[in-house]
Amino acid sequence: MAESGKIDPMHQFAIEPLFGTDHLSIGGFNIAFTNSALYMVLAAVVLWIFVIGGMKRELVPGRWQMAVEYMTGFIKNLLVANIGDKGRKYIPYVFSLFMFILLANLLGLLPLGLFGLHPFTFTSHFTATGVLAIMSFSIVLIVGFAKHGLHFFSLFVPHGTPALMVVPLFFIELVSFMVRPFSLGLRLFVAMTAGHVLLKVLAGFVINSANASPLLGLTVGSASFILMIGISALEVLVAVIQAYVFALLTSVYLNDAENLH
């Protein structure tokens, strides 16, 4: 891309095997340790270090312990508000989900390109977000059927439905239910992809306009650069909001499974 002078905004999403693990495989499936896998490991390790700081278990917490307890308390409140006290047992799962996605989003936004590194946001890949979404959806199904058995299907027939409408409504509700994992996974993937593409496109404007002529660089380039600053801030917000939306929707769906309607 350098030789053509053209900046490919999609190149940041390319998955490349690292450390010569291209052909690592299990049972015929390729499991190369890629840049994507590296960022998954980084997110897990950063989260691990973060939570270790909250393990002092002091009665009067320090700043770090306070921060970790704030995050677990935030998830606890989210679950208690949506599900009730029964929601407390989902704290480990929703906390893991929220923090893992949040750190993935934020680590992918780090300006590591300045140091010649290649930051990667694995939440911009639906292969990753899809697994997380299917995981949440499976938990909803397992909890729903384990708790309510076949009665769980009453979720698809709202209260006070006229007898004539039961069958069509059942199918409409079923479809909206089945769409959930897709909306969950695709929302995160699309939001992260779009933000990163936008940043790269604007960065391309800055570089290409400055290369074309000083006048264009000062007008189009500087305008794009100022816009980039704002959008970078917006992307940090989006990173937090998308992680929150994922956790929130998971807890809303868990509420359906836990309490039906």
Partner: protein, 164 residues
């Protein structure tokens, strides 16, 4: 779009590493560490609310004790007032009795003294009569040379004394 273009060769690696890392996050951090962190926070909340309850209970007990003290204070005040009134009444009664006794004593003494005065004055009167009768007999004897009887003189003196 590499997400779609590379899907065939990367999906297995993506899923494998995601399950591995998220499994670590869920089992080690989520199940192993988060309950302890949340437990600490819950324990602190419980301790704070417990301490607050204890403080509230102590306040209530202090109020109760104060009310109790007030009650007992008022009670002992009325009791003291009753004792004082009783003592006052008793003292008044006692002093009245003593006053009455003293009055009677004084009255008796006055009566005795009056009787003595009466006796003394009647004795003195009798003496005056005798002396006056003697003097009258003398005067009669000197003037008329008649010896008046004792009885006559005395009757004359009595008459004269009675007429002043």
């Amino acid at each position: 779009m590499p997400q779609i273009a590379q899907i065939a060769e990367t999906y297995s690696s993506q899923i494998f590493w995601l399950l591995l890392t998220f499994g670590f996050v869920f089992f080690v951090i989520g199940l192993g560490m988060v309950p302890k962190v949340q437990g600490t926070a819950d324990a602190r909340d419980a301790k704070i609310s417990g301490d607050l309850d204890a403080a509230k209970a102590a306040f209530a007990r202090a109020d109760e004790a104060e009310a109790d003290y007030r009650d007992r204070d008022a009670e002992s005040r009325t009791a003291a007032q009753a004792v004082m009134a009783k003592a006052k009444a008793e003292a008044a009664k006692a002093s009245e009795a003593r006053l009455a006794a003293a009055d009677a004593d004084v009255a008796a003494r006055i009566a005795a003294a009056e009787a003595r005065i009466q006796a003394a004055s009647s004795a003195a009167m009798a003496e005056i009569e005798t002396v006056a009768a003697d003097a009258a007999r003398d005067m009669v004897a000197r003037i008329s040379g008649v010896n008046a009887t004792d009885e006559a003189a005395r009757n004359a003196v009595k008459a004269a004394l009675a007429h002043g």
